[in-house]
Symmetry: C2
């Protein structure tokens, strides 16, 4: 069954409609400590199904997207005597939908779930496409399955209270979708800024829909990421390495920032290996520097970063590091291998572009 | 892709052929402490792919089919830098294929695996049909996914050194398949005995093939157990409750024995609710008593057993206990609800049939 994508600001009404369509099962809402406090009361006000649901709260933050929190979530499903027929509603960001989606896919070998993303990042990325899972042994998303929710209900009504950093994170994934789509979509995004007060979440829903549909069209062709879905990994091979490295250095950077910087490095690699146009690269790098600043690294950090990249799920062998790169805006090429030397060269140029000493 | 079932005693040759067909990936063999010592050397002698593989040993026994052992298995896959392209070969009984299959389904969101069952029970049950998972929080197989191996290589060459108890366990699942299939298949099984020295594993391969194909035809129609696959749960609602209860009482009974006794109780329920013929019930109960003995329970045990049945994955609500029962041999009926009173009545008659005071 294909995931249903619903773009609406009438969330409560839509949720009640979906629950009725599914035969009025019992509902468990998985929320994190933040969304349970800030968002859940809004949803409960608007939805009978949410008001009647059992609430399961998990600790917030990517650092808690681990086997311990997941075990706790499974236990709470057992405590409520959840069955295969119980419906999970994931109310939160990507941490909640990744972990709640994995719990749903694995509890009694599979329950149904619905995602209600409460962050821009989750709306344009994690809530769609069925990647679920947890971090393991210090590496991101090492354990999980592909399992699509029955629906994602995507709105902007929860975004106005988001920290600036969350908006920036989501916008980075939208930039990625723009790079994958065409110069027009990318141009619209580069012409505006995600930084307050320029930015108004309530006017964002059409742009989000455009962005989600870029992703959803790609996922539909290749749910298990054996081919073209790898295009969506643009920026993420480097981005995940930045993220994992920052996590081990005990000063974690937000996912979207890691992606923004990862996109710059991978556009440099695209330029080196596939001749991606230099002016597009410079324009994009300048935009990222202005809006996201820079992730500071030195050449002493390269070996550890490359070691992390070797763990990337896309690699078919530990000897190759596999990238999705661009020939041009809208022209992705998957399964491009780069050597540690080429990556080092790209990181050198990234540091120049980002004005890092 | 449908699971390939290969019945052969030329295991090494067949495995090397499969690995070549899959593009000669790196191979990880998951074995338990017993099969690593007793079976692996035989396979390594006969298979180049096995000789070149990385061996991952997990603790043997259902008591170790848990999240800790699974985490250890995931870590060892990371240590060997396994990728999505690495092939897992599960060499062992159901504990190994359940846990190794779940690890394969979830590591980096999915690798391929092949099952080589080394027990009769695994050959006729766990190695086929894609149920993977672990026990959790004291209950059996609460966490897992449906994920078929690319192939199962089924032989009898590893059975001659099996303990009697393992043969009995496997034979109980064959009895179940006989009950589901027709009076002829059942008759053949009831006419022979799994007890040494009557029993000769080397002459068993055709009977195993007949039995596995009963299961595989049913699974093919309904991989995710939303309908007819539930027929295969015959004997297992009661059987799992016996097993979980014995586990908590610190005197665990083997799975197949629990199934044999569970089949007797569920045939009693079938008689009460669906009019299953009394003479077939008596004949079957006598066979089980003669070959398996009896699981001793008193009426004081009923509430705890019923509480365990409520946790069964097939239930759509905690208020109903859902059974697969038989109208007659070869005529299963799924989704039959029974009350705690009816179950108590059936357990009373079971105790009579089994000569329990």
């Amino acid at each position: 069954m294909k995931e249903k994508l619903i773009f609406t600001n009438l969330v409560g009404e839509v949720v009640d409609g979906l629950v009725a369509e599914l035969g009025n099962p019992r509902v468990a809402i998985v929320a994190d400590t933040n969304t349970a406090q800030l968002v859940l009361p809004l949803l409960v006000n608007e939805s009978k199904a949410a008001a009647a649901a059992t609430v399961i709260t998990v600790k917030s933050g990517d650092v808690n997207k681990n086997i311990d929190t997941l075990s706790d979530l499974w236990k709470k499903l057992m405590d409520m005597e959840a069955t295969r027929n119980t419906l999970i509603i994931n109310l939160g960001g990507g941490v909640v939908s990744d972990m709640g989606g994995f719990a749903a896919a694995t509890f009694k070998r599979g329950m149904r779930c619905i995602n209600i993303p409460t962050t821009l990042l989750a709306a344009v990325d994690a809530s769609v496409g069925g990647k679920t899972g947890i971090n393991f042994n210090g590496l991101k998303n090492q354990i999980g399955v592909f399992s699509e929710p029955v629906a994602a209900v995507i709105s902007t009504i929860y975004f106005n209270t988001l920290p600036q950093q969350e908006i920036m994170s989501g916008y980075a994934e939208m930039l990625k979708h723009g790079l994958l789509e065409n110069p027009d979509t990318l141009g619209k995004l580069l012409a505006s800024s995600p930084v307050y007060p320029m930015f108004d979440a309530t006017r964002l829903l059409p742009l989000i829909e455009e962005s989600v549909l870029v992703k959803s069209r790609i996922v539909e062709k290749d749910i298990t990421e054996s081919g073209i879905r790898k295009a969506l990994n643009l920026g993420h091979t480097i981005g995940h390495a930045f993220e994992a490295y920052s996590y081990r250095r005990k000063s974690p950077i937000p996912h979207g920032y890691a992606v923004a910087w990862g996109l710059v490095v991978e556009l440099v690699l695209s330029h080196i290996i596939l001749g991606f146009p230099s002016d597009e690269l410079q324009r994009f790098a300048a935009y990222v520097l202005e809006n996201y600043g820079a992730y500071e690294i030195t050449c002493d950090d390269y070996p550890a970063l490359v070691a992390d990249m070797r763990q990337d799920k896309k690699n078919s062998s530990p000897d190759n590091i596999n990238f999705t790169l661009l020939e041009n805006v809208g022209v992705p090429r998957i399964n491009i291998n780069a050597t540690a030397e080429q990556i080092g060269g790209a990181l050198d140029i990234y540091r120049d572009l980002m004005h890092i000493a």
